[in-house]
């Protein structure tokens, strides 16, 4: 038996809520945060998005950052979510030097780069933002807002970045290199990736319909989420019990195509299988799967195939909460892990919104939030471009 990893704090910000309570309420009432563009400056107003309902200025003011400080939205969203996670785990600044911080992102400072790029090339007026362009800068801005973390790192595996940050953190704990880590990810909307996904023709001008026969693409979203992971000893030293435990995980590569998933969902299958093996569980033990479920024809059929194979057609309740939050890209793995945590704590199944008709050889997603049995073990899937497929297994905390 591997050493247990406790989850002792979590924070989230997304289109369906600025904290865990708001997100929980939206999930329980089946409320979506996807709507017309309000904050992102884009001509593509035909595509609905899941925006965090605060402007940069509002976020900056609420975080107590002086107006005029050079800032990128990915960092602001990250700070907002990290604050909640640190408070819940009672990690004051004095404990941060013994804490690692892992934050996944791909967009980094692109929101400002795409705005100021002509200046970058021609003059010195926006140099602060050149220095904030890369992914690592957003991680350091987020970390430094709270104190002095002992180690920081930035996994960047496209849409699975945040889930892989959690896996990296868990390995640091298992190897004894860290007692405690805060891991997750942050990503804001940008014109760059909105247009990128549009060029791939995978944005749906309607609200997305994961696992539905009529699904026609994804809606982009934004947000951030972090989890505090630690060894029981360090949590107990602060008198804290876990919210849930992280019992297993798998990171695999589909190795099929740069942006598409294999028809058989090989990477997804291997990731879920590895997470179960790592946790010492069998498919029958899984009570809920939070699918990657983007709503693209390719992902949902490939992921369905992987689930049908692994669970031998006895698939447990599955849903994609991207129907509520939008696809929050690099942050999605952490946002959905926090949603899984809420499902375990509050014993409900998040409903897959906008679903009407089964797809061919697809799974039937959750339509009723009341579970048929106790939710003890959940899988959370997160896949990225390049076949970077990862899966986590979380378990309900049970006092022995």
């Amino acid at each position: 038996m591997k050493n247990p990893i406790w989850i002792t704090g979590a924070g989230i910000v997304s289109a369906i809520g600025l904290d865990k309570l708001e997100v929980l309420d939206a999930l329980l009432h089946g409320r979506s945060g996807i709507g017309p563009v309000r904050y992102l400056s884009t001509t593509h107003t035909e595509f609905p998005v899941g925006e965090v309902p605060l402007s940069n200025e509002e976020l900056q003011a609420r975080l107590g950052i002086p107006a005029g400080t050079p800032m990128i939205r990915t960092a602001l969203l990250g700070m907002w979510a990290l604050q909640e996670a640190l408070q819940e785990a009672r990690l004051d600044p004095g404990l941060l030097p013994q804490t690692a911080f892992l934050s996944g992102t791909t967009v980094g400072g692109m929101d400002k780069s795409e705005q100021y790029y002509p200046d970058f090339l021609s003059n010195d007026t926006r140099n602060d933002y050149i220095a904030l362009h890369d992914c690592g800068s957003s991680t350091e801005l987020i970390a430094d807002h709270f104190g002095r973390f002992g180690f920081v790192a930035t996994p960047s595996t496209a849409c699975s970045s945040a889930l892989n940050a959690i896996i990296v953190g868990a390995n640091l704990i298992r190897s004894g290199q860290a007692d405690r880590v805060v891991a997750g990810g942050s990503e804001c909307l940008t014109r760059f990736h909105l247009n990128g996904f549009h060029s791939l023709m995978i944005l749906d001008p309607q609200p997305c319909r994961p696992f539905d026969a009529s699904r026609a693409g994804l809606n982009l979203g934004e947000g951030a989420a972090y989890l505090v992971l630690e060894r029981p000893e360090t949590a107990l030293a602060r008198g804290i019990e876990p919210l849930a435990t992280l019992d297993g995980y798998g990171n695999t590569c589909d190795a099929f195509h740069q942006t598409a998933s294999s028809p058989e969902g090989e990477g997804a299958f291997l990731a879920m299988q590895a997470a179960l093996q790592d946790a010492g569980l069998t498919p029958a033990d899984v009570d809920y799967i939070n699918a990657h479920g983007t709503g693209t024809p390719n992902n949902d059929s490939s992921e369905s195939r992987a689930m049908l194979r692994l669970f031998h057609h006895q698939v447990p309740p599955v849903s994609s909460t991207k129907s509520a939050t939008g696809h929050t890209t690099s942050a999605s793995g952490a946002i959905e892990t926090v949603i899984c945590l809420l499902a375990l704590q509050h014993q409900f199944l998040p409903v897959n919104l906008n679903w009407k008709e089964p797809m061919e050889e697809g799974i039937i997603p959750v339509q009723e939030s009341r579970p048929q049995r106790e939710i003890r073990h959940v899988l959370c899937n997160s896949f990225g471009f390049g076949g970077n497929d990862s899966s986590l297994l979380l378990s309900k905390w049970q006092k022995s």
Binding site: S137, F149, G150, G386
Partner: protein, 345 residues
């Protein structure tokens, strides 16, 4: 834990590609910006691959193939890549089109190859490797984070072989941007350039270039934290500061960037010879990959080129046995790595 060996290490850089000719006959540069010297891609790639893949991807696949051939390991248990800026050429082309033509008629090709993980996933795709796959993008320690992840997983028994790479490409316009923020260029020394390094690490091989003894990374360490970490690292390697053959640092002649290195050496290793590598391999977010590559070959060949020494401490007379590699940036991110020569070297 069984030892972890660096079994093979290859590079494309300012020096002769896929070769250790720099050890005897380094190419010297006195320009602020130069692109890496590419090998003859025809020997490694089909014409279709050559057409379709961006430069950074070609270099990544060629360096990976080279270490695969040397070791016979074709499907490593893990593929880990560090890149400071990712596939910059494609990112830039998409960004330029967005700024120039607005939000219409953008081609998917550049977007598809613009994410940072394009490189590691290409390596998996080409080598048909379904195992652990990750990319780190964190400024000057991007490569070090990838290596630390591999090291961590060797320790917990998750993997027995790993391909660890450091890759960056530097376009002329991005050089201008980095010059604006004083990272390279200007009137100070150092050649802004690119990175392509592949290492094949293995627990199974009984031989290779050297042993990866241990490593540590820190963020914004206090002096006390740095001291404690250094002690624990040396203890783990059963070394004293004086017993080190040399310390290899990332000094480049750029005063502000070098200051923390000089302080570190004066404080902890005043009697140990010091080595540098950026004068030959250039400045890049992932330049630290060349430190590991170069140190591994120095340990393997039992000699350190004269041009690598700097500082007041004279070289030791015996062949190098253990090297400490220090990479830091802005006195914030720190990486410490110890490599050891194999028996018989």
């Amino acid at each position: 834990m069984k030892p972890v060996y660096i079994q093979a290490a290859d590079q494309i850089s300012l020096q002769a590609p896929l070769s250790e000719a720099w050890m005897k006959d380094p190419i010297r540069y006195d320009v602020p910006y130069a692109r890496a010297v590419d090998p003859d891609f025809k020997q490694w790639l089909t014409p279709a691959e050559s057409r379709r893949l961006g430069k950074i991807l070609k270099r990544a696949w060629v360096t990976a193939q080279s270490v695969f051939r040397k070791t016979g390991v074709e499907h490593p248990d893990a593929i880990l890549v560090g890149t400071g800026l990712g596939c910059m050429e494609n990112t830039e082309r998409f960004l330029e089109a967005l700024c120039r033509d607005g939000e219409s008629l953008l081609s998917p090709t550049h977007f598809m190859q613009s994410t940072h993980n394009t490189i590691a996933s290409l390596l998996a795709l080409r080598s048909h490797t379904h195992g652990y796959n990750i990319t780190y993008s964190h400024k000057d320690v991007s490569f070090d984070q990838a290596l630390l992840d591999a090291w961590t997983q060797f320790r917990i028994g998750n993997i027995r072989t790993a391909l660890v790479g450091g890759y960056d490409e530097l376009t002329p316009s991005y050089f201008t941007l980095l010059e604006r923020i004083g990272y390279m260029g200007g009137s100070q020394p150092g050649t802004g350039s690119e990175t392509a390094v592949a290492l094949l690490l293995s627990m199974e091989a009984q031989q290779g270039l050297c042993e990866l003894v241990s490593m540590r990374m820190l963020y914004r360490p206090t002096e006390q934290a740095l001291q404690e970490t250094l002690h624990s690292l040396l203890d783990e390697a059963q070394l004293t500061p004086e017993s080190l053959s040399a310390v290899m640092t990332g000094v480049s002649g750029r005063e502000a960037q070098d200051a923390p290195y000089h302080r570190f050496i004066q404080q902890w290793f005043p009697e140990v010879p010091t080595l540098r590598y950026k004068q030959w391999f250039g400045l890049s977010y992932t330049a630290s990959a060349y430190a590991v590559y170069a140190a591994a070959h120095c340990l393997d060949q039992g000699f350190i080129p004269d041009g690598m020494y700097y500082g007041p401490t004279p070289p030791r007379s015996e062949p190098p046995q253990t090297l400490l590699l220090l990479n830091q940036s802005e006195d914030k991110e720190y990486s410490l790595i110890i490599l050891r020569a194999l028996c018989g070297h």
